[in-house]
Amino acid sequence: MPINFKVPIFDIKNLNFTIREQKILTDISFEIFAGEYVAIIGPNGGGKTTLIRMLLGLEKPTSGTIKIFGKKLKEFKKWYKIGYVPQRASLIDSSFPASVLDIVSMGRVAKRKLFSSATKEDKEIVKDAMQKMDICDLKDKMVGTLSGGQRQRVMIARALASRPKILILDEPNTGVDAKSQRNFYLLLKKLNKEEGITIVFITHDIGVIADDIGRLFTINQKAIICNDPKKAMSCEDMSKLYGIDAHLIHNHKHEH
């Protein structure tokens, strides 16, 4: 599906975030449009997760404005349009009593009306989300017994079950084997290309997905936006941001 450059999903202007007099993010401005696939990279402690948390309303910016679907963050109510998969997705407590179906069904909770149980439509959307993530056969398994790669797909199915327009993923690859990771990138690509879901993805694996993504944001207190990710790896900006030779980062990523 083509990218719609008319209406930004996120419209961020002059965002600053300071905590205990330490600047975490400085003067960040960007727009993310419907249908885009944006990857966010940057060194640890560079502010990637903070930025994402501000977009989701979990942290308040020190200054600057965030608009979501044209509305100020405070006035924005349709949060089900945004699917969030946090960093710790693969690290959930293994004794939490939840089957895969229990977790994916949570994706419908915010949309339901009180007093009403899951409708036929809800059940179908949940089933559809599980099909897309290829986890239907795990339906009755406890999430605690799943592998890292399986859990990751369950978390995304939960996000998909709210029928989001945009998926925001914060490095959900912790503890996931290489093969599952490759499958995971294919799935993201498919969601973006075939379903038209906008994707914002914090990752370290930029070398692997450089072909899939549309734009690359490098965040290290400031943001540098690169419209041609394939060239980004040799960008001078990269070395400035990391403070080391960018080629080293590139090579390092291919060792995995």
Partner: protein, 265 residues
């Protein structure tokens, strides 16, 4: 068994015990999953302040316990979310603080006698008809709210932040859960006693979690365990003339150990 139920007071005791078992185990599942287990202990002690005021001032102790427990629950939730203090420290402070207040109120009022003792350890055999009516009314309201918001509360217990970013009113849901827990705990202290109600809320769920089943089944197992414990415990209490609160808790502990053994991998 039949002989036991031929007494009026035993019938009332059983009825009260069964209602409390249902309330404590179902709400307990949410409390444990939300990692509020210690809060149930603290609220049980806060409720004693209500009991103390009731005993000294001549009000219905059960009603007063409900009111004070709800206020304490709100205070704890407020402190926990606003000041990011170590939340277990907040609970410990409230627990000893409220117990101290309760004891002082009672001794100033000259009522430091058996009546407070019966609220500490529970006195199921002295449950009155009026108590059963109060427990049934407040209990149904709490259980109803819990079931209406079950899916939302489950989501928040699973991951508060993701629930929030999905658009759930997490602050409201947190206050709702602690209020429901407060009401149920306050209702229960007449039966199981404030020193022991925490056990009846937490242990059935802790046992059910050993079976590693989904959410609905976990609630169901914890309900069965709570019911069995109350029935066994009251039987033991009747036949061996032991305090009912203690025998109920001992029964639930036995079932907990059994659940551990059966599910040992």
């Amino acid at each position: 068994m039949i002989e036991m139920l031929s007494y009026d007071f035993m019938q009332r005791a059983f009825l009260a015990g069964i209602i409390i078992a249902i309330l404590a185990s179902v709400s307990g599942t949410f409390i444990v999953l939300r990692r509020y287990s210690m809060m149930s202990e603290t609220l049980a002690h806060s409720a004693l302040v209500g009991v103390a005021v009731g005993l000294v001032g001549g009000y219905n102790p059960l009603w007063m316990a409900v009111i004070v427990a709800i206020l304490s629950a709100w205070l704890i939730e407020y402190l926990r979310s606003s000041f990011s203090l170590y939340s277990d420290a907040v609970l410990a402070i409230m627990l000893s603080g409220t117990l101290a207040v309760a004891v002082i109120v009672v001794s100033l009022g000259g009522a430091l006698n058996n009546s407070l003792f019966s609220y500490l350890f529970g006195s199921i055999l002295s449950v009155s008809k009026e108590d059963i009516i109060t427990i049934s009314i407040f209990g149904s309201i709490s259980l109803g709210l819990l079931l209406i918001y079950a899916k939302e509360l489950y989501f928040v217990a699973y991951d508060e932040e993701v629930a929030k970013t999905s658009g759930l009113k997490v602050v409201f849901l947190n206050y709702l859960l602690v209020s429901i827990a407060a009401v149920i705990i306050a209702l229960s202290i007449r039966v199981v006693g404030s020193l022991l109600i925490g056990a009846l809320m937490v242990i059935p769920t802790a046992s059910a979690l050993q079976y590693r089943v989904g959410f609905a089944k976990t609630i169901f197992i914890s309900l069965i365990i709570a019911l069995l414990s109350v029935v066994f415990g009251m039987g033991l209490s009747f036949f061996f003339s032991l305090p009912s609160g203690a025998t109920i808790v001992l029964s639930v502990l036995v079932l907990f150990v059994l659940s551990l053994v059966v599910n040992k991998q």
